[in-house]
């Protein structure tokens, strides 16, 4: 157990609690360790059918033709769903709050944009029959040039891979999310030292131990019980209603206890097709990813690239930062545009920098789509920003602890996204960590506080 330490802050008033602040046992843990925990896949249904996708072997290709006859002839085959069966086959999750453009096909139509994109959903009596039927679907493709790198994708001669015609997510009238605070060029002019560095991070899988999946059961009164392990029940209910053109009051989402998510179960994917399948067959339909699909098809954390240019005074004060960032959202923008905005609010990190300029891009490529993940928009920036801090410290010969403490944001400071800082405690966590490792900070640094 961690060591709790009292540090003086204005908000630390004495209060007594009887339930808050106690290390009470986790609700449900007895079920976890005895096998009693019930997750989505643990519910049994009479007449359950199984859905498997026919997936593209190509990163980017035109679908010339698709022949389902081999699948239809497979024993146990019930029906296939193709693009024409999806009432609203183009969405973007953020459309719920009026953010577009819609760019994602639920089932590929005419073109596949990433390796593994689904072209047809096969519903069959057993998982084995679904797999066999899916293997018998014949698809003729015409391969198209693919692009995987964010900066390559933004070049004039790059293949355009989106339905809306741009390989970037449009932020209002801009090709990126912008931060403009102070005068960054003036800041660089005043700086004693300029530090520039590029950083790259690879895409990461969430790896929830419970794979993503949904079972949809039609009910006798014409509704649908949607058992699903999503992280946002109403969020996906609303999107499902749109995609499937079924009124929301006919959808009942059931979940709430999930075998890990880490952001990977925020996009609806399996819900739409399980609901549609149940709607069109009248049978309960199960659509769970295989582990291979969870790894290679489900959303990842986006890979990022950052170019950081900092202007620093010899005493260590950072006076200007220009950051150009690119998030690789893959073939479809699920929520990465939002992570990019979240990253834009984090460009100075936990430091006060008077002049900040950022262009943050959400870029489409022919990769498996990316989405939210634990630390969305921030984790990978922290790698870049905090590596940069040590590079700066060495370059100007200032102790890395001092560099961070003298630039640390404090209550009342203005952040680059023009929100006043409050409740800050960066200085104090640094001071406590220094003490923990036995690093005796100089008195002037020990005396710093986050609040006045």
């Amino acid at each position: 157990m961690y060591r709790k330490k009292h540090v003086e802050f204005p908000e630390n008033t004495p209060q007594s609690f009887h339930a808050v602040g106690e290390p009470v046992t986790r609700v449900g843990i007895e079920g976890n360790v005895t096998g009693g925990l019930k997750l989505t896949e643990d519910y049994a249904f009479n007449g359950l059918t199984h859905l498997t996708m026919v997936r593209s072997p190509h990163h980017h290709a035109k679908i010339v033709s698709m022949d389902l006859s081999g699948a239809e002839a497979t024993p146990g085959f019930i029906r296939a769903l193709t693009a024409k069966d999806v009432p609203n086959n183009i969405i973007t999750p953020m459309q719920l709050i009026g953010i577009g453009p819609k760019d994602e096909r639920i089932i590929a139509q005419d073109v596949v944009r990433y390796k593994g994109e689904g072209l047809a959903a096969i519903i069959a009596e057993t998982p084995e029959a679904a797999a066999e039927a899916a293997s018998k679907v014949k698809v003729e493709y015409e391969e198209l040039p693919a692009v995987f790198d964010v900066e390559e994708a933004l070049k004039d001669d790059a293949p355009i891979i989106t339905l809306h015609g741009k390989n970037y997510f449009p932020y209002e009238d801009h090709h990126c999310r912008r931060i403009r605070f102070g005068d960054v060029e003036q800041g660089f002019a005043e700086a004693d030292v300029i530090v520039e560095q590029r950083y790259d991070t690879g895409p990461v899988e969430h790896v929830p131990m419970e794979v993503t999946g949904t079972i949809c059961e039609p009910t006798a009164d014409g509704r649908f019980n949607v058992y699903t392990n999503t992280q946002g029940l109403f969020f996906i209910l609303a999107l499902s209603s749109y995609v499937c053109d079924i009124p929301p009051h006919k959808l009942r989402f059931l979940g709430g206890v999930t075998g890990g998510g880490f952001g990977g179960k925020v996009d609806g994917v399996t819900e739409y097709l399980a609901i549609l399948g149940a709607h069109l067959t009248g049978r309960p339909v199960k659509y769970f990813y295989s582990r291979q699909e969870e790894m290679q098809i489900s959303s990842t954390r986006a890979g990022w690239r950052f170019y950081i240019k900092d202007g620093v005074k010899n005493d260590g004060r950072i006076v200007a930062r220009k950051l150009v960032g690119y998030a690789n959202c893959g073939a479809y923008n699920r929520l990465v545009n939002y992570g990019v905005t979240k990253g834009a609010a984090h460009v100075p990190g936990p430091y006060t920098i008077p002049n900040v300029y950022a262009d943050m891009h959400c870029v489409y490529t022919n990769r498996q789509p990316a989405s939210a993940m634990r630390g969305f928009g921030v984790t990978m920036m922290d790698f870049a920003i905090e590596s940069q801090m040590d590079i700066i410290a060495e370059k100007i010969g200032v102790d890395p602890w001092r560099l961070r403490l003298i630039n640390a944001y404090k209550d009342g400071d203005m952040k680059a996204h023009r929100k006043e800082a409050e409740g800050t405690a960066l200085i104090e966590v640094i001071q406590e960590t220094a003490a923990a490792i036995g690093y005796d900070l100089p008195e002037d640094l020990k005396a710093l506080k986050s609040y006045a």
Partner: protein, 258 residues
């Protein structure tokens, strides 16, 4: 519909294996997951765990290990202490309770690095009969013809020194970057078995007396690079071919150092 057959002797097993769509399982650790997911790809599962091949027998210093013996079986046999490091390097406990010596040989697993170094012989049955030969030659053989590895033999009379090292990206239950077994017999001759340096396991001769006069990776590198020059190591999500090539002498030096 997929059939499941459990032949009682090797001849029956080979007959079943000759049929179209036959798939052999022993421990099942490598392929039963695939079979269960896509059974339509196969016609018959040939379960070879009832062929009486799980025995570990001793005969005048030669230990014969049945192909169906598991990694756990090896670890439970004190006479096979030489192989324990390599057997423990395979998977985790549940996997070692199922994974067989025969499967490890067929799929070129970490155990093979040790077996090759020790100059193990392997008994292979084909329709025209059984033959015994060096394990190293097995990988040059014709894999297309139905064959069954039934036994592997180690001659413990050639007493000497042995070391094993598995270099992997994490300590436990990881695919190897390079696994190396190094054995020196009483005459000082050194054989090095390697997994991860080529598309198949390989054995190369090492500097005489290496176990008595250990060399650093840097010292070993020139000779090993030359000996392995004909092979392209695999690239996968854990390591590139170049990294595997670079790690070969490191794994050997560490196997020697113990």
């Amino acid at each position: 519909m997929l059939a499941y057959e459990t032949p009682g002797d090797v001849a029956d097993a080979l007959k079943l294996m000759g049929g179209a769509g036959a798939v052999v399982i022993a421990g099942g650790t490598t392929n039963f997951g695939d079979i269960a997911e896509e059974p339509h790809k196969y016609s018959v599962v040939v379960d070879i765990t009832k062929l009486g091949l799980r025995k570990i027998a001793r005969d005048g210093g030669v230990i014969s290990i049945g192909a169906a013996a598991t990694m756990a079986d090896l670890l439970g046999d004190p006479d096979l202490a030489t192989l324990h490091g390599a057997a423990r390097a395979v998977g985790g406990p549940a996997l070692r309770n199922a994974a067989t010596v025969g499967g490890n040989i067929i799929y070129g697993g970490d155990l093979v690095a040790a077996l090759l170094a020790l100059g193990a012989d392997v008994v292979v049955s084909r329709a025209d009969g059984a033959s015994t030969g060096p394990l190293s030659a097995f990988y040059d053989g014709d894999a297309a013809q139905p064959h069954l590895v039934t036994e592997v033999r180690i001659d413990t009379n050639k007493k000497g020194k042995f070391g094993f090292y598995k270099l992997a990206r994490r300590r436990d239950n990881a695919r190897s970057v390079v696994a190396a077994g190094v054995a020196q017999d009483t005459s000082g001759r050194v054989q090095i078995g390697l997994v991860g340096v080529a598309p198949r396991p390989v054995v190369v001769e090492g500097p005489a007396g290496l176990m008595d006069a250990p060399q650093s990776a840097a010292e070993l590198r020139g000779a090993l690079d030359a000996a392995l020059a004909q092979w392209e190591p695999p690239t996968d999500s854990h390591a590139t071919a170049a990294y595997r090539r670079r790690m070969a002498p490191v794994a050997v030096a560490r196997a020697v150092a113990g």
